[in-house]
Assembly symmetry: C2
């Protein structure tokens, strides 16, 4: 591994061509006609587009079925049908979370992903098997992919005694974030669910990320409860609400009040261009108001469904499609969300395409960055911490 890398003639979004000098894993200089050091590896960017590394800020690496024989989907429509179906499948078929998360990591890296926040199911059936598998994958890929682990009570926490203790064990052993899930619908006790989540977070100095599928006023009430706890525990800037579908399903005046609560408590929203016929949160409304946003690929070909793929440019396309974004500036905003927006949520202060930042970036061919969202060309080069980790989608 050379100490110095010089990438010439690449085009960042919204600016003109530049060279990039990298040393010891960091970007040290950007500008035109940079001279390489004597030992530098030189890469001719040939006018390709450069993105900072893609950030998948909402993944479920432990339970993907990718690379396994096709799973025929026949589960019923309700959320609980899917959770039960998944727990049964995992028990009956013995999914190896180490092997599966490793496969997913490799595909994600080849597609230009340099950061993943992954939820890991913790329940009284599977216990810490999923967590331990992903922990091994994180160790294996520590030089090519930043993986942040969320201890996630997918099957409920209060309704399954013993779950909280398992989550604590994960938090002591490497999980950095406490996950919550539909506090009313699953655990039937929103205040206590969130009290336990925040208590875990405070005691382990962990961030919080709550899956919130609850619709309309029920979900909005959960946002109020989350905002109240964020404030009382001084957790501003450390909480994400994922999906937050209710932000697409309440009246406009109430939506404005909810957005105020998010801003006052610096709570970020993860939205990924949700599937479905119902209204979903407006990315433009949230971003224009100043709400921090990130996105992610969610479950990849798992018991929940087959449609997602581990490609953040496809994710950008789906966000744009779901939000009916047609203007270039709107699609560029989506690209900000799948890069800097995710890095903010993951707390990576070294992230970015600028001198001093970690050298994490992706090159692709194309006319401009918006077209890359639509054409999704192979990633010709992926660099993580100044080191080449993938070429030409491999």
């Amino acid at each position: 591994m050379p100490n110095e890398l010089l990438v010439s003639n690449v085009i960042p979004m919204r600016t003109g061509p530049t060279d990039i000098r990298i040393a010891d894993g960091r970007i040290v200089e950007m500008g035109s006609s940079l001279a390489p050091g004597a030992e530098a590896e030189i890469i001719d960017g040939k006018g390709q587009l450069i993105f900072p590394g893609f950030v998948d800020a909402h993944a479920h690496m432990d339970k993907t079925l990718i690379g396994l024989p096709w799973h025929r989907h026949e589960a019923g429509p309700a959320l609980l049908d899917k959770i039960t179906h998944e727990r049964d499948l995992r028990r009956d078929e013995g999914i190896d979370s180490y092997a599966q998360s490793s496969k997913l990591a490799r595909i994600a890296i080849a597609a230009g992903t340099t950061h993943i926040r992954t939820f890991v199911d913790i329940d009284t059936d599977w216990k810490l098997a999923g967590f331990e598998g992903v922990l091994r994958t994180r160790e294996d890929f520590k030089n090519s992919l930043d993986i942040q682990i969320v201890a996630f009570p997918q099957s409920g926490m209060l309704v399954r005694p013993g779950t909280v203790e398992l989550m604590e064990e994960a938090l002591r052993n490497g999980a950095e974030v406490v996950g919550g899930l539909d506090p009313s619908t699953i655990d039937r006790d929103p205040a206590r669910h969130l009290d336990v989540i925040f208590d875990l977070a405070v005691r382990h100095d962990a961030d919080v990320d709550v899956h919130l599928h609850e619709p309309g006023e029920l979900g909005a009430f959960s946002i109020e409860l989350i905002a109240e706890r964020t404030k009382s525990f001084g957790f501003q800037g450390r909480v994400v609400i994922s999906h937050a579908l209710c932000l697409g399903g309440v009246e406009d005046a109430y939506l404005s009040r909810l957005i105020e609560m998010l801003l006052e408590n610096d709570i970020a929203i993860m939205s990924h261009g949700p599937s479905g016929l119902r209204p979903v949160p407006s990315v433009k409304r949230l971003r224009d108001a100043g709400v921090r946003m990130c996105s992610g690929n969610d479950g990849i070909r798992d018991a929940w469904g087959p449609l997602n793929m581990p490609d953040m440019l496809l994710r950008a396309f789906l966000i744009a499609y779901r939000n009916n974004f047609r203007r270039d500036d709107e699609i560029e905003m989506v690209l900000d969300i799948i890069t800097q927006g995710g890095a903010d949520v993951m707390g990576d202060e070294s992230y970015g395409l600028a001198p001093g930042c970690a050298a994490d970036f992706v090159l692709v061919s194309g006319e401009n960055h918006v077209e890359a969202v639509i054409d999704r060309p192979a990633r010709s080069l992926v660099v993580k911490n100044g080191r080449i980790v993938a070429r030409d989608g491999e």
Copy 2:
């Protein structure tokens, strides 16, 4: 061109492997271990998946900007902003509808499309230039792609005197379908707009296809007016309502009545997994009720927006995504819509994967037909009327 083709070992959806014998452009036999005739060209299907040719039943071939330098999208949000922007762009940049529709035809064929119903803008600025360009393209591609032309008053009809006469000229010279457009919003006179459309259709023995973006009760009222005219003119089975977004935005009891009207008059719905935050028609609800459905790629990289691509497997993915389809049987239903559903609307009675049908089909590699919607592999072979028209996506 050989008179006989034998394709061995291919897998149709929902059945097991088969061979297919083709002669004079038609499928003559399907079954296992078919013996080739002495003169037959033999293709080893190697267990690939076979689809009947994809049907793009809603295209705008005349105005795609595909293959031209990137058009930066900055148009305003309203429908009229986009229509005006497009007319100006077309006038100022002089889009060559022959060249553009030819490029699109080539890409579509390579992606396995064997049938396209295309709208062609007719207005008092552009007159018949778009129509004439697509007519030439249709002639050029007559052996590799069925193109059906809709005379379409994109800029309004009553509000632009002279448009109806131009539409008549197109109908006399090769357009097979009369197009309508948001009868209230654009022409400000829904009853008269539809009277003129149906009068044209009756006099030219042409089918009808109405773009209906109008939301909620306004769009639903247009459906009522269309159903009334379909009945009084005996046009059952000859009318499509495209988009029909209002079917996602009315109360359930009214939706049931609208569906009854569609069924009574055998009116088909074109839906393509519309972008946007608002509710859209439920494909499952419509299909379960027995409504005929088709789909299409709509405008490809044109003045309206950059997101669509000329690939009907991507379209199937977007329909599935927008409808939150996760079950295999639901996604198979979408595949029926982009194949047989479109052929029904285009009136192609020779369509299908069965003895006696025209030999129009596509081969792709993959584990099953549902996975092909998600992975969208290159089309390894495309056959139209028994003749190979594309290989490996070229």
